[in-house]
């Protein structure tokens, strides 16, 4: 075969790329058509409707421009909601992904792996109504001198500490709520990350050990980079979940005591206060917040494709 000078234009296409171009132009559309249909009717249509409503006044009777958005960024109550959501986003994502990863790595090395994983996973199977009762038993508060029926207060009063109103006190209540989320969702992260971990070839790790690398070093230098794509998938899912966090806050504090978040405020503005303009603007904000995350994901997928 004659030597060929590869340029950008005529370099041979990777097999993946050649594969991707197979079939007629219509074929891909047939494959995604059912999904598109569902998403367009059930999600996109309400979204477009919401965007429109967000530009109208509270009962959708007059055009309001960006008034609703201005209010979100000026009203102290709304700013608090945004701050709380940011707190949830950062703490919730870091905690679930980190704990999920650490637990996945740890359980991988012990003989009781199956039981341990089940224990972490079970909270996911509990209905939210059940979880609400469970955490009521944990956070319940009774004044000093009365029998503490909440586990946490029974625990701290044993050490002579005053019982705390975990869900009322504004310095701790947001973290108390995030803890519930971490308890529920770490199992999800662990399951997916653990699967990725099984894909890390044993030879590479053994080679590193023979070279005298410490376990911590192996974790950060080999394991984490190798399963980075999965970490990205899990983190993206958590971020989206946390952006629209609703149940935990609504059931446990109703958004009172400075714990409100965007989705709960959305719900209350719409169904309790009847302010459709403001509630819709809050929902649109969630959609805008997701855009950078999606762009990052697209970049990631394109890199992945270029490599295969």
């Amino acid at each position: 075969m004659a030597t060929t000078l590869y340029t950008r234009a005529n370099r041979p296409k990777s097999s993946g790329e050649r594969w991707a171009r197979r079939g007629g132009a219509l074929v891909p559309w047939l494959w995604i058509a059912p999904a598109i249909l569902f998403v367009a009717i059930f999600l996109l249509y309400p979204v477009i409707n919401t965007i429109w409503l967000s530009l109208l006044n509270f009962d959708s009777s007059a055009f309001a421009g960006l008034t609703n958005y201005r209010r979100i960024f000026t009203d102290p109550r709304m700013l608090l909601v945004l701050r709380n959501n940011l707190l949830w986003l950062v703490v919730g994502t870091v905690a679930t992904v980190f704990l999920g990863l650490v637990i996945a790595v740890l359980v991988d090395r012990v003989r009781i792996e199956s039981i341990a994983k089940s224990a972490i996973f079970i909270p996911m199977a509990i209905s939210f109504v059940g979880a609400g009762v469970i955490w009521r038993f944990v956070y319940q508060y009774a004044p000093p001198g009365q029998a503490q029926t909440g586990l946490l207060n029974a625990f701290v009063t044993n050490f002579g500490v005053q019982p705390q109103a975990w869900l009322i006190n504004p310095t701790i209540n947001n973290f108390a709520l995030i803890t519930v989320y971490v308890w529920m969702w770490t199992g999800f992260c662990m399951v997916i990350l653990s699967a990725a971990l099984k894909g890390v070839p044993a030879e590479i790790l053994e080679a590193a050990r023979v070279d005298g690398a410490s376990e911590v070093r192996i974790f950060f230098r080999i394991i984490v980079p190798m399963i980075a794509p999965t970490i990205a998938v899990v983190a993206t899912t958590m971020i989206i979940n946390l952006l629209k966090i609703f149940d935990i806050v609504y059931v446990m504090t109703g958004g009172n005591f400075r714990t409100n978040v965007v989705a709960v405020e959305y719900y209350q503005q719409q169904f309790n206060f009847g302010n459709f303009g403001l509630s819709s603007a809050l929902a649109v904000l969630l959609l805008i917040a997701i855009i950078p995350i999606m762009l990052y994901n697209i970049r990631r997928f394109r890199q992945q494709e270029a490599q295969r």
């Binding site: 097999s15 469970i134 070839p201 999606m294 992945q304």
Partner: protein, 317 residues
């Protein structure tokens, strides 16, 4: 290479949910070492096991508390912590469970839950699998943007879609039917399912498809003969998650099955047990365990699909 997972690109996805049957070779079968090193390793393993047990226990305490409380009389639950029930004199009762199981229509509700959850899980997983295959392995204009839009819709709070969708269902005359709720759960489950499966499919190496291409196999054949068998672990974990979400759903059922209480699933029937003051919430302790049973059964029965090696085996052949 003995496995198909490429070290450069192992975005291996849910292959395993509750732990493979065989321990990871590199962790559990240390290479031959000196007796001294073996002692160190054994001690390390002991510490590790202790830490894992500790974490598992901490995670289980809240659920265990619920479990104990579900066997205590209501007045005891209201006046003392659940741990007091563990010390004599024991005062256990199955009254909470009787109350839930005796409730009118609970048997029917269980059947309804199955009728809702099974198609509500299978339809979105299949629709998503087709779409994810196209997004991962076909090229067409606007592909990435369509994908991005679908996944971005994951952030839409369900409450936002209820009124418009109910309007559509009512216009179509299907409100209150199982069809309505299947369609709704399919739509709500799709973005996550597509995202997860696309990540998994996209991570498969292209040589997999090479030989099939040479053989002239159609997309449908590749999808059903090569991809789906490979994707069993991913599909299984997706099925578990989607099943749990549909099974435990209250809001969607309340709205779209509105007006047809004879089709109400368990969460709706259970909600009926609590009075308007929410003051008899003890029944929820028992209800939580009764409604948890089936999702856990699904979880444990799908576990066998998460065995390491399915992937490697099917590729090598």
């Amino acid at each position: 290479m003995s496995t198909i997972v490429n070290p450069e690109d192992s975005s291996g996805l849910p292959l395993d949910v509750a732990g493979s049957n065989e321990p990871a070779a590199w962790a559990k079968a240390p290479p031959p070492t000196s007796p001294g090193q073996r002692v160190v390793r054994w001690t390390n393993n002991g510490i590790l096991t202790f830490i894992v047990v500790l974490i598992a226990l901490i995670w289980s305490v809240p659920t265990f508390g619920l479990f104990v409380a579900s066997f205590r009389p209501a007045s005891a639950t209201q006046s003392s912590g659940w741990w007091n029930g563990l010390v004599p004199p024991w005062n256990f009762t199955i009254e909470n469970y009787q109350q839930v199981l005796r409730a009118q229509d609970m048997g029917q509700a269980f059947i309804n839950s199955l009728i809702i959850s099974i198609p509500g899980t299978i339809i979105p997983v299949f629709v998503a699998a087709f779409a994810a295959y196209a997004f991962a392995w076909m090229k067409f204009p606007g592909r990435d943007w369509i994908f991005l839009t679908i996944v971005a819709l994951l952030v839409v709070p369900i409450q936002m879609t209820l009124i418009p969708i109910l309007g559509i269902f009512t216009a179509a005359g299907i409100t209150g039917s199982f069809l309505a709720i299947w369609l709704a759960h399919t739509a709500f489950g799709l973005p996550f399912a597509i995202y997860l499966l696309r990540s998994f499919f996209g991570a498969l190496p292209s040589d997999l498809f090479e030989s099939a291409t040479i053989d002239g196999a159609s997309h449908l054949r590749i999808f059903s003969r090569i991809l789906l068998p490979l994707a069993v672990p991913a599909l299984a974990s997706l099925i578990i998650f989607q099943f749990m979400w549909v099974w435990n759903d209250l809001l969607v059922a309340l709205i779209f099955l509105g007006g047809s209480p004879e089709r109400a699933p368990m969460p709706v029937t259970i909600a009926n047990l609590v009075n308007s003051f929410g003051s008899n919430y003890e029944v929820l302790t028992a209800a939580a365990f009764i409604s948890m049973a089936l999702p856990l059964l699904v979880f444990f029965s799908l576990q066998r699909y998460f065995v390491r090696g399915i992937l490697a085996g099917s590729v090598k052949g």
